[in-house]
Symmetry: C2
Subunit: 148 residues, 2 copies
């Protein structure tokens, strides 16, 4: 292959790659939410987990991970940190292989307190992506969820 074809490959990937774009959006949006949530001592990744546990708990770690398409080992350590703060607790027979997660008192309080910050971040993100861009994300996410 000559440099010519190389540059053609480079241009193709640069102009089409979905991964580059998703990853850019991920960094950008995550930063907006993390900045908004920082005063509360929480990151948006943790809010994600907290909401799933609040909505569907008691729920097993494995189910949470599947719902978020996240590695069980990733979730395991994220939950560890959240347990320390009392945002999440283990209900029932905790040890071993059959534990169930549910939201803790501190977690409930935290969700209530974060609503204004979340709204602000959500609005800022919608402004950044535009109505169509934001709707697009919902559309794409739904496509993934139906195939999970």
């Amino acid at each position: 292959m000559k440099n010519d074809t190389l540059m053609k490959t480079v241009d193709l990937i640069a102009s089409e790659c979905i991964a580059v774009r998703i990853r850019l959006l991920n960094r950008t949006v995550t930063n907006i939410f993390d900045n908004a949530l920082r005063p509360l001592g929480m990151k948006v990744s943790q809010l994600n987990v907290l909401i799933v546990v609040a909505k569907r708990g008691p729920i097993s770690p494995g189910d949470v991970a599947r719902r978020l398409n996240m590695e069980k080992s990733t979730l395991s350590r994220n939950v560890d940190r959240m347990k320390i703060h009392g945002w999440i607790k283990v209900s029932g027979g905790q040890s071993g292989r059959k534990q169930l997660l549910e939201i803790g008192t501190a977690g409930r309080k935290l969700i209530r307190k974060s609503l204004p910050a979340w709204k602000k971040a959500q609005a800022r993100t919608e402004a950044l992506l535009g109505q169509r861009g934001a709707g697009a994300i919902h559309q794409a996410a739904n496509a993934v969820w139906t195939q999970l």
Copy 2:
């Protein structure tokens, strides 16, 4: 208690939050590309950087970081790993504050070799998100780039 309002908040965030969705898409798409690129010993995060450097090099680390909306410190360490493999090299007076990155011989070879894997991953992603979902991502990314 105000469990009622709490659950309303939970449902609102669960059904609307753009960050949850972007992050889900990021994990999903990154996994598809990483799996496809694994035989080449490269991750899609590294391909992103390599393509920018190949297309626009010689380019300063700061400019690469800005283009990807990535922290300079993040880029610094990512580039370190890529320098070790010879994918990227520093041109001109490297030390100090004014270094320029360009693609190395191994980097050129790697891009050529990765094209089939990239195409496969791109196709699989488009199939997952659907034509509309994929177009949506492009649309949203363009919105971000124009406001960067």
